[in-house]
Symmetry: C2
Subunit: 346 residues, 2 copies
């Protein structure tokens, strides 16, 4: 099939070669013209650019990747696309990358470290130059793979003193502790926590520890904390809340691992006719849009999603370029007090 059609290839996209012929220069010159215009004389550059335009030439990604060993594509692996937790941050991440000519590939791991490892390999195989990862928890093999391949990555959505990897985020422990301090100051002593499964999820774990720390600081027995573990979803939040409120030790404050769970709790409270915050206070974490929609408004921790996304993009680009920088960035996550948190009923 390749012995003819040397001259006119009807519906295949034009190649570097075609451009070179039209412009009557070598392919090398065309390539340089596109990637390093400064090395080419003005006259030729114009001839080449015209040819490019005339042919509607666009470089073949695979070939480029193969020859240059660089793809200008970054990857992001987030636990889920199914709710809004990561949406805003990711959008900002993508926008910033776009500004630097980098395309984003997104995959989701469904909160499974094994699946995440697969996705990491898939993205790298597909040429991702660098990766955005969420949280520190993942298989040792995942990290080994990244090191071995020398793939730059940044861990986002968390910041942990104890970790030395490039990362950008906030201190989940600290933020949750601050929220809890406030809750305790309001007189609450019967506390329940609805959290995502903590195994393989350092953010959830750190938030949990923040709750514990606050209780301890206040002289409360951490063992008195009621804990329900359930995957993030409104549905699950509602069910967990229902269980808690119909249980033997009805809490006066239900701390939720994130806003999605809290939203579920809020709607269930409403359905059950339980007054919030009169009978029970509810708090969330993340400050996604939902927090403003429920009524009363949800007291939560405001996470700087867009800043984090943008920052992660910049960090990653710097890492990719080998520019030395501050590769660990802590952002602030402040309390967002709204109506769902009130004084403990007396």
């Amino acid at each position: 099939m390749s012995e003819h059609d040397q001259t006119n290839r009807p519906r295949t996209s034009p190649t570097l070669n075609d451009v070179a012929k039209l412009a009557k220069v070598s392919t090398a010159t065309v390539s340089r013209c596109l990637n390093n215009p400064s090395q080419v004389s003005k006259a030729k550059r114009e001839r080449v650019m015209n040819a490019v335009r005339e042919l509607g030439y666009a470089p073949n990604f695979g070939a480029q990747a193969l020859a240059a060993k660089r793809t200008n594509t970054f990857g992001a692996i987030i636990p889920t696309m199914d709710n809004a937790i990561f949406a805003r941050g990711l959008q900002a991440f993508q926008e910033e990358l776009g500004r630097h000519g980098v395309t984003l590939l997104v995959a989701s791991s469904s909160y499974s470290p094994e699946l995440e490892e697969e996705q990491i390999r898939a993205l790298v195989a597909r040429g991702a130059d660098a990766l955005l990862l969420i949280g520190h928890d993942r298989t040792a093999d995942s990290y080994a793979f990244l090191e071995q391949r020398r793939i730059p990555y940044v861990v986002a959505w968390t910041f942990n003193e104890a970790q030395s990897r490039p990362s950008i985020g906030f201190d989940n422990h600290k933020a949750m502790k601050r929220l809890m301090d406030h809750v305790l100051r309001l007189g609450h002593r019967d506390i329940a926590l609805i959290t995502a499964p903590r195994v393989g999820n350092d953010r959830a774990r750190e938030r949990f520890e923040g709750v514990q720390a606050a209780m301890q600081a206040q002289g409360l027995d951490p063992a008195s904390l009621q804990i329900v573990e359930t995957p993030y979803s409104i549905q699950n939040g509602a069910m967990a809340f229902e269980g808690l409120m119909s249980g033997p030790a009805r809490p006066t404050a239900v701390i939720c691992g994130n806003d999605v769970l809290a939203a579920g709790a809020m709607t269930m409270a409403q359905k059950l006719g339980i007054d919030v915050p009169g009978e029970v206070s509810i708090t969330g974490f993340d400050d996604i849009e939902v927090a403003e929609i429920v009524s009363p408004g949800l007291t939560t921790v405001h996470v700087p999603h867009r800043n984090m996304g943008r920052g992660a993009a910049r960090l990653l680009i710097e890492l990719r370029n080998g520019e030395v920088t501050q590769s660990r960035v802590e952002l602030q996550a402040d309390l967002k007090l709204r109506g769902s948190l009130g004084a403990a009923p007396s």
Copy 2:
């Protein structure tokens, strides 16, 4: 930098050739072993697989794409990642693709046809074998480009009799008309519509036309419909609603182009102390999670997000494989009646 390390390349990833040597077969056999195992004898296959495992071999994407002219990567371009409208559908889309060994690349166009065209080119350049697009509205150049490159695509989130392109979705016009029929049946005559900008957004336009059609069918003057156009966001929904309710002709029913706008309207109603549905009814479109959270629950049109995503994936895979199929699929979008819609106040 390449004059030495011919013999032992320490930290470069292993290639097909390395595997072939270790297994003492040709590269062709290794390749077949990986892509068409059935063509290789069991003995060799095992030898090869062992070598693959031992070396931790993973194919180089660029090279594979270059040689095979196929990447097993699909692209999706959605208007925004910033809210939940597309999240669930996309998640299902991705899951289904994953099941078929296809990786998904996502980009977002910010509702701009020009940006979308860029993204289409970018994804194709990066090797996308096929694309998922939202809605029919886009630049002629975008379609021309896709045709010329013979890139399979499917238009989702809408189904329109008049369009002949491969697509999967529901009839926005019909669905909105059905909702409106119901609204009118409840006695509402003073109607307002909060819609996304209709230029470049056929879904929004069709929904709008559905509203008009229902009014006309009822003998109402379509010109009496109050219209506010504003980009999808809770914030904007709230502001639009506020404007409407403080205007001269207060509607008894506010129809929102989607749930995000409606959620904004609902929260604003609450803030203003306007009773829903006592004083004013509010409806949405999409049935995303938010619809269940607001109170009262939001009457909306249920869109089969996950079905649509899964269906789109299957359709696209069939198209890519050149399997002839029914390439136009209409899904049902049914009314979801909740508390936010009531009889018109008398």
